[in-house]
Symmetry: D2
Subunit: 358 residues, 4 copies
């Protein structure tokens, strides 16, 4: 269990960081959607390691092949099988930790769960798995675009450096203009500088990614357990290193009074809208047509270039030394992953909503 996501527009990923390859099966993509492979490639480039000085210098080409489900450039309605072969595996990098549990990694927990683990690069728990998500998310984005829905994420915090502005006061088109993916140029420079300092100190640092979905029609979401924000939350919390999720007013909203927090309805050009949007575009778990926005907290990357005390499988005290090529801060590369997961949720709920009425 746990390797599939979605109800109708549903993905199943497979693959470890250092096996032969990884991939994803996308079920439920409606037939007739033009599948733009260049767009998928572009999205994957955004997630790819080695893209800038503040990401890992690991080289992964992330070349993908679509094995099925697309015919003459369009989706056929049958499962889209997409594989990404691993080429730069360097498994030897991991021999030194084969029987050691790296602190705050999944080494120990996988070992307890399965009694066996693929220790190379974290195996299945590696963030490499998210390459498959980004590929699938690109197709979900193409689907959403057909209905005028967009999803855009950006970095809003690195360490203590927090962008206090709302997304409404930012030009999100600037997001891709810098390597940290923060749409505010000045803040971006500070963030980049901080990440570089952290990297030089052989350490890592956390951050926040914010995301906005625009053009979502009212009526998406399911009652009770599968509320739209609950599914978005799960999607985000399923990304490596995520520690928190909030939407709309979020944790700040707890301080507010109802008389302020309530979003008054009014009518604009025949459309029902709200004057404020503390609800974050979702009321009772169902979209109301306003922008959907949310924040995701990422912890500092667990792999640091320092010696750390730990335990091995035999229960002995050992030293774990950071080696290999790792990210000092995960959020710049997390931006496309957040978008991918959000797009997958929205595509799925858009399809589900077709079954609500007689």
């Amino acid at each position: 269990m746990g390797n599939s996501f979605g109800k109708i527009f549903r993905i199943s990923t497979f693959g470890e960081s250092h096996g032969l390859g990884l991939g994803v099966v996308i079920e439920g993509c409606p037939a007739g959607l033009p599948i733009d492979e260049d767009f998928i490639r572009t999205e994957m480039q955004r997630r790819k390691p080695g893209q800038s000085k503040i990401t890992t210098q690991r080289k992964e080409e992330d070349e993908f092949q679509i094995l099925s489900g697309v015919f003459e450039g369009k989706s056929t309605g049958t499962p889209i099988g997409l594989v990404i072969m691993n080429t730069d595996q360097k498994s030897k990098d991991y021999g030194h930790i084969a029987d050691k549990f790296r602190p705050s990694h999944a080494d120990y927990t996988y070992f307890e769960k399965y009694g066996i683990r693929d220790y190379r690069g974290g195996g299945r728990s590696s963030a490499r798995e998210t390459a498959a998500r980004v590929a699938a998310g690109a197709i979900a984005k193409l689907f959403l675009r057909h209905f005028g829905i967009s999803v855009q994420a950006y970095v809003s915090q690195v360490g203590e450096l927090k962008l206090e502005k709302s997304y409404l006061d930012l030009n999100l088109e600037n997001t891709e203009n810098n390597i940290v993916r923060c749409p505010d140029k000045d803040m971006a420079e500070k963030m980049i500088q901080l990440i570089e300092e952290v990297r030089k100190s052989r350490d890592t640092i956390g951050g926040v990614v914010s995301c906005v979905a625009k053009g979502v029609p009212p009526g998406l979401g399911e009652p009770v357990f599968d509320r739209l924000h609950a599914e978005l939350g799960k999607a985000m919390l399923s990304i490596n290193a995520v520690k928190g999720f909030e939407y709309g007013s979020g944790f700040e909203g707890v301080k507010m009074k109802g008389s302020v927090h309530n979003d008054a309805f009014y009518q604009e050009k025949g459309r029902i809208r709200t004057k404020t949007n503390f609800s974050g575009g979702i009321q009772g778990g169902i979209s109301n047509g306003e922008d959907i926005y949310f924040n995701i907290a990422f912890k500092p990357v667990a792999t640091i270039m320092q010696d750390q005390d730990s335990i091995n499988e035999a229960g002995e005290t050992v030293t774990v030394s950071g080696k290999g090529r790792h990210d000092p801060c995960v959020v710049p590369r997390a931006v496309p992953i957040v978008e991918a997961m959000a797009a997958l949720v929205l595509a799925d709920y858009l399809l589900i909503s077709r079954t609500n009425k007689l």
Copy 2:
């Protein structure tokens, strides 16, 4: 969709606030579990309206009947059907809002989604549905208790009043000693006073519930999409009025360096443990045997005793007047709901873990 939760230990709830009744079907509860109906009743009392001066004064008896799945006091492995008949419905209270969309409620979104809605008391979107969850959660708690696992929640913030102490520095046994369910007596008094003030001003206020699960064995959780904290997050975000979820270091963790945040392993009495617990008991989405802890943000209740501008189904501007009997702050009654959902997730993942190894 959206009315069921869980994979093996799975619940399906049904019922509106003002229909004939509501209920839950619990599938996958293993056979042979003694079903203590008094315990279920006690849990439901904790959620029940009218329990104190700071909750709604609405009277709902919440008497339940177990129709199936229990024989001679024990679960039989077949579905446990449990119903709660509605007795104090007062549907007339809602006639005045039959065609109006209450701000920040689910009125408008349900109308858009289904083209029809049961306007009485919020219908399916009412928090009354959580009575069924608490009943099911009580059974999950009984199951967990059999394996030495406990789940305990408490109120850690109301408005700006925030308990800065960690759960480790609190005596959680004091939680039920006061009506706000905050284990710190002094803070509890302040919180109660604040809620009373808010109520008198015909307003509402938000808050935070914190929760700790102890005794969870290592190895619970699924890789990738169904990470234990992702499922916990979804469970919490599915509760009415929730705007955010964080576990372990949460949103504060983003400010930290990896060298501080990493939880070093050591061995204690033959058991592998971590010196710190910023991970919140979950690494790579799988429990590591340490305490699991998390926070849930609740917005201020949307129903306020004040006039508000809004729109009706015809698109006309109308005034919505708060009537009826509502909570000025939802967190005291949310405590047992949080525990119920956490227990359901853990019971489910405990069963799933039996299938991991050969």
Copy 3:
């Protein structure tokens, strides 16, 4: 697991034959469907025990209550909770078999599976559970009727008495004109006589129910595993006492040559049709617009009014004596159950088909 059926139009049943009650939660019924309670009642009457001299004389009133999901006579899109309280339980009838395994019942297998069982009347394995299916199926029928789809079943065989005519040569409107539910009057009389003889000899006998669905649009069904006939087959095989399922040419079709069996396409009034229908209205697992027809084999009822050798829980040889009030042949009462399950499958696949195209 195993107590839910369907993907979008999904039911979960609960309840044993001798508990307080049983019921069903129907999820995914689209909003706006008029729910005709009289129709549900009529369908349940067709399944009810005691309806004629050739069924069990047990009295079960099968009065149901809809607790949720219907407002002002229409479905709201939220779960329809429906309960049927047990009134004529006579649990004492079962004291004599409390620790005995009745031959060809589920007593032994439930005991092995769960280590505990509700021995009263078969508990969960009792055909009483099908009352809930018929209620849910009635709502599925109402939904299908809205789209011009009908489902009709009838008895085509009892013991050796087999109706050799195809449904095309029968007037299915005569089905409800006799107590055995065979549309051929002469055959019906023979079947009734046979069942009476069997009953008098304190024995039971098997039979076949045939079913036809008309008006199913082309395009329903899913590729590969969830082929329309695979889901129909599972639905039918899930009914108590069923031993086989065949559709279209079925087991006879294996003797045929492809040149005969292939259904040639032609066009009629702008609609693509087939000249023959050995395919049974389904090709590649997807409906082609022709009639869907299939047969279901029911074994003789296991409860016979004779002494039988068996084993008890202690492993001792014991005698099981038939007592109580049981059906000598299950097929007359199985007709509405078959229709209910077929309607549920078709309603579900009709909804799914809305998500196939862009």
Copy 4:
């Protein structure tokens, strides 16, 4: 939907007959199982085209690669991704039917469902998809073998040539000794002769595959909808060209009296057994420890080497001419597919059964 099968031991297949490749993701295979790739290869050889004079002469090498989920020869508990690249595609063979609907194929129904179709070799509806099932089924077999459970299928009927003997009177070890996979040597020769005659007449013919599972412990199966035989039935009905399924006494059982059909319990060496086995090893949907046996009806292959009248996408009358390389009778190659699907069901239910008791 429809491309996944199973609940815990769950497979998702993808791929068309003439795309780049096909494959399967196997979730839920417990960790620690030795994965014998030679065994998988052997199983795939049994299904492979071109294996004898009575199968299609098409060459497909069916070389597979395991991309993930296996480390140092053992399953790790994470998804096993397995791909089979298509090498001998000959898409040009299909140009002549690009816009024509072949009789009794899925051409028309896929076109209606999706509005688009991959016409090459049937696309997703091609039996080529079953290569992925056989690969996954081989792994399920390895899992079952670990618990002493075996699954064995054989051809019991071709056209009118029916093996009247029960599997108890056959030596199933002879099944693989002849190209038709019938364990009775004399009957096998007749069947081979018949298939050759049919092939020479440019026609096709149907058949029956029978299957036996031995060593299944009592207690596998779920109540009500997911009865073990219902899931087995669905699994079999999901195989291309299947028209019927019966288990135990099957359609013959309807003629029997309960006094004969009931399987009396007795005790043998401390184990509870039944004297007869009309139940087919399953009672109330749950295995009782006896052999599970069932029959599956396959229609004649739809592709015949003769001209047939049909319709094209424009609704015009056209002639479809049989070309390419096709099987005159599907059952010899269906034997390993039947076994694979049966093994997948049993592996899944074996894992589920671990969650039944406290």
